[in-house]
């Protein structure tokens, strides 16, 4: 697939502070890619180097095969939806949406029909003559979206556009944005610190930490096979455990927790030192009866947190290892667990992910 955007060895420094450090990023044509990371991690700076508001200290920005590194924003075929929407307060909804077309010196009739289509696309028909201050947050959001999309950019850049909306509206907009993107086929680059939002909307996620991309991959890959402790912690919930690695003499490896052993499928590790693993809470199978086979151990329920559809259980093994498990909350099930219960846990070897030392967070792990 063709790369719509490429960052090649891009760095951006503000004084002594490196906001982005030697990043390579390829965004494929037509995909929905999310830059996900905590605030101040450099994701917005990456976006702004693509929109043209920041010029990289080093490296090259490519857009549709052309070097745009030093091109000003108004000469780039990308459009941005701003976090604060940045609607022009002196222009009506229709005038706001027509702004980009006017700048392209498009004919008045063309402008009008395209504005009309854009207004309908974001369900704002009838509001064309309203002024921005007469709109709700969700409506402003739609105008900002229409204003950017009406220009038919090669890439739409979205800088935390949903952050200011309330939870319900945000969820609705997530689905709507995703639908819009697949219908229009425009490449979307979305920036957010909300991991759930990233999982719901993206085709691929690039997890950003301290100016670097920790991991980039499909949504399911990022969730099920986090590469580093940072990714495992940042996305969803994770049990991160560390133990010495051992061999049973053959090719298989296991982690020795003393009181129990966990076999891992990853055979690329030697028998030296210790490794760090990640187990998602829902992958810990619980039973009230002793379980057979590998990777089984017992624990006590220390805390039970009701979360609606699921129950979150805090477990502690006799040896003092703490784990979090999540189980479906079925009232009729005989397999329900409460505080103080003794439970038997089993983790399938496939569900154990061995983590690399974080690229940015030092040598946690080995």
């Amino acid at each position: 697939m063709e790369n719509m955007v490429e960052l090649r060895s891009v760095s951006k420094r503000f004084g002594n502070f490196a906001a982005v450090e030697n990043v390579d990023l390829h965004i494929r044509a037509g995909e929905f890619l999310t830059l996900l990371g905590p605030s101040g991690c450099g994701k917005t700076t990456m976006l702004r180097m693509i929109s043209g508001f920041e010029i990289p200290t080093e490296g090259v920005v490519m857009l549709a095969g052309n070097d745009v590194t030093h091109l000003p924003p108004y000469r780039r075929d990308v459009n941005q939806v701003f976090q604060s929407y940045a609607l022009f307060p002196h222009l009506s909804v229709a005038q706001n949406i027509a702004f980009g077309l006017k700048m392209k010196r498009m004919g008045a009739a063309d402008q009008q029909s395209r504005v009309q289509r854009a207004v309908e696309m974001v369900s704002l028909a009838g509001m064309e003559s309203r002024m921005p201050h007469q709109l709700s947050g969700g409506q402003k959001q739609r105008v900002a979206l229409a204003r950017a999309l009406v220009c038919e950019p090669r890439v739409l850049l979205l800088d935390e556009p949903l952050a200011a909306l309330d939870a319900k509206l945000r969820h609705a907009m997530q689905i709507e944005l995703k639908r819009l993107q697949s219908r229009l086929g425009i490449t979307f680059l979305f920036v957010t610190h909300d991991q759930e939002e990233a999982l719901v909307m993206s085709d691929r996620i690039a997890v950003v930490n301290k100016g670097k991309i920790e991991q980039i991959g499909g949504v399911s890959d990022i969730y099920h096979r986090p590469a580093t402790r940072f990714v495992a912690d940042f996305i969803g919930q994770a049990n991160v455990l560390e133990a010495p690695i051992r061999s049973d003499g053959g090719s298989s490896r296991f982690l020795d927790f003393g009181e129990f052993k966990l076999a891992i499928n990853d055979a690329q590790f030697g028998t030296q030192g210790s490794v760090m693993i990640c187990v998602r809470p829902e992958k810990i199978r619980l039973s009230s009866r002793p379980t057979q086979g590998n990777n089984s151990f017992e624990a006590t329920v220390r805390e039970e947190i009701f979360r609606g559809a699921t129950d979150q259980l805090h477990l502690e093994t006799p040896g003092g290892t703490e784990l979090t498990a999540v189980v479906a909350n079925e009232s009729s099930s005989e397999e329900s667990f409460h505080k103080g219960d003794r439970v038997f846990c089993q983790i399938h070897a496939d569900d154990i992910v061995v983590l690399q030392a974080g690229r940015a967070d030092g040598n946690a792990g080995r």
Binding site: N79, Q80, F82, S84, L87, P89, H90, M103, K104
Partner: protein, 284 residues
């Protein structure tokens, strides 16, 4: 809460204005005395062929001349003041206070002193000409020392200097409030710096410009003394005429009528600028 304020306004604004208004309908008895008989003669005199010492023209021409000078002052103040205000409003926050202070410092001295200070600059042997000579611009590029003092140019320099801060301050206020991301949004949507300025920056800072126009134009029309000093007495605006009626001619009713005519002019200007700023629209 309201009544003390109303009392204040009544005492210091409404009452003097009413006194002038009533006075303007009486006849002049000469020597600062008023003959309490109703007449419209004072207003008729403004428009009719009553000639002045310097122009041999009706008083209405003094009004027109005042509007011309005030208008030119306002336009020059806007052209010079906008970039200054924009620069201050856009620079680092920690510098803004100091820069605004620099704009205001001259106003801590009397305007007469500031006006006479221009003499030492614009005089034939003044600072301006000696600087040009030191730089060998005189006589290499310009043949003779520039004689600015006592010319309309000197009057304009003094007026612009006098009113520039009244233009800078309100524009600064609206530039400071201008959301930077709006300029980024314009750029993102394909507007270069020039079109961003005319389509976004200018319309959004128009309230400041409009306030600046009002705060410059209105007092500039009524300005007195400065014009007379800088022109050596041969350029007289309406403020000078009013002052003369009260202080030299002793014709209080006619002075009052001139004052009332000026007030009417202010009201018209106010209505015009007010309507314009309410309908602030992009200019391009």
């Amino acid at each position: 809460m309201l009544s003390p304020l109303v009392g204040w306004l009544a005492l210091f604004v409404i009452a003097p204005t009413l006194i002038l208004l009533i006075c303007s309908f009486f006849e002049n008895a000469g020597m600062g005395e008023i003959d309490y008989r109703f007449t419209l003669q004072n207003f008729a005199r403004i428009f009719q062929g009553e000639h002045l010492r310097f122009y041999q023209r009706p008083y209405i021409h003094v009004f027109i001349r005042s509007i011309e000078y005030a208008g030119a002052t306002t336009i020059l103040c806007a052209l010079i003041g906008y970039p200054v205000a924009y620069f201050i409003g856009r620079c680092d926050e920690k510098w803004r206070g100091n820069l605004l202070m620099l704009v205001m410092i001259p106003f801590m001295t009397s305007f007469l002193i500031r006006t006479y200070a221009w003499f030492t600059i614009l005089d034939k042997d003044g600072l301006l000409n000696s600087m040009l000579e030191a730089l060998h611009i005189i006589p290499n590029i310009i043949k003779q020392p520039i004689e600015l003092l006592y010319t309309p140019a000197a009057v304009m320099i003094a007026l612009v200097y006098m009113y520039l801060p009244f233009m800078i301050l309100p524009i600064y206020g609206s530039v400071e409030k201008l959301d930077r991301t709006l300029l980024e949004a314009a750029s993102d949507l394909g507007a270069g710096p020039v079109r961003t300025f005319f389509r976004v920056t200018l319309p959004l800072t128009w309230p400041g410009i409009s306030a600046g126009i009002l705060m410059t134009f209105v007092p500039a029309i009524a300005m007195f003394a400065v014009t007379r000093i800088m022109s050596g007495g041969h350029i007289r605006l309406i403020g000078d005429e009013i002052q003369e009626q009260f202080e030299q001619a002793g014709d209080l009713p006619f002075g009052s009528a001139l004052g009332m005519a000026l007030l009417a002019l202010f009201v018209v200007i106010y209505l015009i600028t007010n309507r314009k700023s309410a309908a602030a629209r992009p200019l391009m």
